[in-house]
């Protein structure tokens, strides 16, 4: 009875009433032993939502493509199947500094599609690459100068001429690196963001933000530099940056101090001085050893409308109105029950986990991850929230996801899970929401879960 009430209370998040999420697909190995290289490090839908890209710690990019809906089961959306897989980055060694550069893909960002090919940017700690993903489903047959094996024919043996004919072939998807943007970041790149002008993009590391032109690889403009003259004066680093979705002159970057700066590239060549400064005053009563850590912003995302932006810190998600700098307009607690566990989380390094957040297509809901393979959704209109779990146990086709609840009090109710039982090794750091439909992709370690709405 209580579960039924809970379901009814939780239903309706992201899409109105009678809205429920159900399992669609899961990608990845089922093995208990997870290879570190297979851990997914970024997830991103393209602008149309037809393509879904994932990057992993091994430097690979896997792109899934949305298949058309089946005529037999029109009530279901089509599935995402592997479209292309390629090795984007390899481990490198900086001999000068004796440092190994990880091949882990930190971010993938799609470019708007302008022709038949698809383009995306992928980055590791040091190098950004522009990849072209194109299809080839025809091949030319009947060359005059070379035979079918590709070997050159003796010109003196050619007695007749023929016109090559395009023959169909099995679809081949090719990924080729078109640009490599290297040697511009001394510190670890944490963000890339394509500008709305579709010609430039920015890349951010701990202390600097660079502006690139997609066609030019041998130079970039440094637009933000917060490195102090003396490093001993360093008090904060850049944690995320994003271009405004519509205003190509505006971008924001967040800091480890929990602040967000909005900059206008028209104001000055060097945007060290912000145009707007967003900061919520700290509550002195909640001060602890870890106040600085939990206030560090791990992700910042503009809404699709461009009116709002969302930030994620360790315990909460905040929605900011760009017109109001002194406090967020909405604050959602993701897992407040962890506040009393910060010491343990510091010890096992979980407190340094960088959770991402995302908007749905209409900006009416937001989503972010948590531990125990839980992820949370918040409906901004109804103020309802829901906790769901990405697990193999609930991975039956079209199975409705059951809302989960973490018990914080002493008495644990049935179907609730206690805080101490949470598995902190199962963390959902990366999530993505389809730009138009209610389809979400959730990365749980080495598995990618795809959920969709169940239209009643």
């Amino acid at each position: 009875m209580q579960q039924k009430l809970l379901n009814e209370a939780m239903a309706g998040v992201a899409g109105g009433n009678d809205f429920q999420w159900c399992f669609s697909q899961v990608k990845g190995a089922i093995d208990e032993d997870v290879a570190e290289a297979d851990i997914i490090s970024t997830v991103e839908f393209n602008y149309s939502g037809d393509l879904l890209a994932t990057g992993d710690k091994g430097g690979r990019v896997v792109i899934f493509q949305h298949e058309q809906e089946s005529k037999n089961r029109p009530h279901l959306r089509g599935e995402y199947n592997v479209y292309s897989t390629f090795q984007s980055h390899e481990p490198e060694f900086d001999y000068l500094k004796s440092l190994e550069i990880e091949e882990k893909i930190n971010k993938i960002r799609w470019l708007p599609q302008q022709n038949a090919a698809h383009f995306l940017l992928s980055t590791n700690d040091k190098t950004i690459k522009l990849w072209k993903i194109s299809e080839r489903d025809k091949r030319a047959d009947g060359y005059n100068l070379k035979d079918e094996d590709g070997r050159l024919r003796d010109p003196f043996r050619i007695t007749s001429l023929r016109v090559p004919v395009l023959m169909p072939m099995d679809l081949m998807v090719e990924a080729s690196p078109r640009r490599i943007f290297a040697n511009a970041h001394t510190y670890h790149i944490n963000s890339i963001s394509v500008n709305s002008d579709h010609e430039t993009y920015l890349s951010a590391d701990d202390l600097r933000i660079n502006l690139w032109h997609l066609e030019i690889t041998d130079r970039s403009f440094n637009i933000v530099d917060i490195k102090p003259a003396n490093m001993e004066e360093l008090t904060e680093v850049i944690t995320a940056a994003e271009c405004h979705p519509h205003q190509c002159n505006v971008f924001v970057y967040s800091s480890s101090k929990g602040t967000i700066r909005l900059c206008d590239m028209r104001a000055a060549a060097l945007c060290d001085r912000h145009s707007k400064f967003f900061e919520e005053p700290e509550d002195p009563s909640s001060r602890s050893f870890f106040s600085e850590i939990i206030s560090s912003i791990s992700d910042v995302k503009f809404s699709h409308s461009g009116r709002y932006m969302m930030t994620r810190d360790y315990l909460s998600v905040k929605v900011w109105d760009l017109n109001m700098e002194n406090r967020p307009v909405e604050t959602y607690q993701v897992h407040e029950y962890l506040r009393s566990k910060l010491c343990s989380l510091y010890e096992n390094d979980c407190i340094f986990d960088k959770f991402e957040c995302c908007w749905n297509g209409s900006d009416s809901a937001i989503m972010t991850g948590s531990y125990n393979n839980f992820f949370r959704m918040f409906d901004r209109n109804t103020r309802r929230d829901i906790t769901l779990e990405a697990s193999r146990e609930s991975s039956k086709p079209r199975a409705t996801l059951k809302p989960r609840k973490v018990s914080t009090g002493g008495k644990r109710k049935k179907d609730e899970i206690s805080v101490d039982s949470l598995d902190f090794n199962k963390k959902i750091l990366h999530t993505a929401w389809h730009p138009k439909d209610n389809v979400i992709a959730v990365a749980a370690t080495n598995n990618l879960y795809i959920f969709q709405d169940k239209i009643n």
Binding site: N183, Y187, H188, D206, F221, E232, S288
Partner: protein, 297 residues
């Protein structure tokens, strides 16, 4: 006391994290280490506030025998003090805006010895000049080493830590002599040995990632960075060292040394933090942790 114990625990954990970050794949994570130093600062502040009374009760001077008997504790005490102060000074935020660490250095010397500011209390400067540390960190005086004078005036006395012999000596007006109760050393004998070893130490440091790309002066215009920047900067600025950066801070906490800090968790906290004076020649970290680290390079 519970707060003090938690703080001590946190400090130990934090130091361990910084140590392990040096060997992590992908290099030192600036963001994470910055956050760890904030925890260190907070923990230290908490501990200091709880132990303020205890420090006042400690005897101003201890004879050599007593000190030697508790040598191990004192070494770690001194080290903890200086490292905690390093972090406190480095990321004081509220407490101080600039880096001082109590190191008595003139501003003129600041850049030259700047590389060592962050680790001034423990590391040998790669520069040829005397290397230093605030005497307050290792002082035989009765003043608490928690209360580091923040001054830019150059002191006549400087305390020197030789990383190879692990001997702490005090330099007065250019002359080396061991701390109280130990034999004085001649500068001529000590200097050559010191200089030679310093070269080894230099290679031991994890320098700022931009050691080869110094960028001390912020530019006011859009900067164009080309792929050739690396080579040019390396050639022209190889002698410049970025002063007091997190990487150097981390290098202070050498791979072997931190194991000692971890071990003092089991020790009597009252004893350790009660004693603020170090009055004799003492060997820091008798284990070969530091040496191992140097040999690795």
């Amino acid at each position: 006391m519970e707060c003090a114990f938690d703080a001590q625990n946190l400090i130990s954990i934090s130091l361990r994290k910084i140590q392990s970050s040096r060997t992590q794949r992908g290099g030192i994570k600036l963001h994470k280490n910055l956050l760890v130093t904030y925890v260190l600062r907070n923990a230290r502040q908490c501990y200091m506030s709880k132990n303020a009374l205890q420090t006042q009760r400690t005897p101003p001077y201890e004879d050599a025998a007593t000190v030697r008997g508790r040598q191990e504790y004192l070494e770690l005490t001194g080290s903890f003090t200086e490292f905690a102060d390093d972090f406190d000074c480095n990321f004081a935020g509220v407490q101080s805006d600039t880096w001082h660490c109590g190191a008595h250095q003139s501003m003129a010397q600041h850049m030259e010895l700047g590389h060592q500011d962050a680790s001034a209390c423990a590391m040998v400067s790669p520069s040829d000049s005397d290397l230093m540390v605030s005497e307050a960190c290792w002082s035989c005086a009765d003043k608490s080493s928690w209360e580091l004078p923040i001054s830019n005036t150059q002191a006549n006395q400087k305390t020197v830590l030789d990383l190879d012999t692990h001997v702490v000596t005090t330099v007065t007006n250019g002359y080396f002599h061991s701390d109280c109760c130990a034999q004085p050393k001649q500068p001529q004998a000590a200097a050559p040995c010191y200089t030679r070893k310093r070269k080894m130490d230099t290679s031991y440091y994890i320098v700022d990632p931009e050691f080869y790309l110094p960028d001390f002066v912020p530019l006011s215009c859009k900067r164009m960075r080309s792929e050739d920047d690396d080579d040019d900067d390396l050639e022209s600025d190889s002698e410049q060292l970025d002063s007091a950066n997190i990487s150097n801070l981390i290098s202070v906490l050498g791979s072997g040394g931190l194991s000692e800090f971890v071990s003092w968790q089991q020790m009597d906290l009252e004893q350790i933090f009660g004693s603020q004076t170090i009055c004799s020649k003492h060997t820091l970290l008798a284990g070969s942790g530091w040496t191992r680290a140097i040999e690795a390079f």
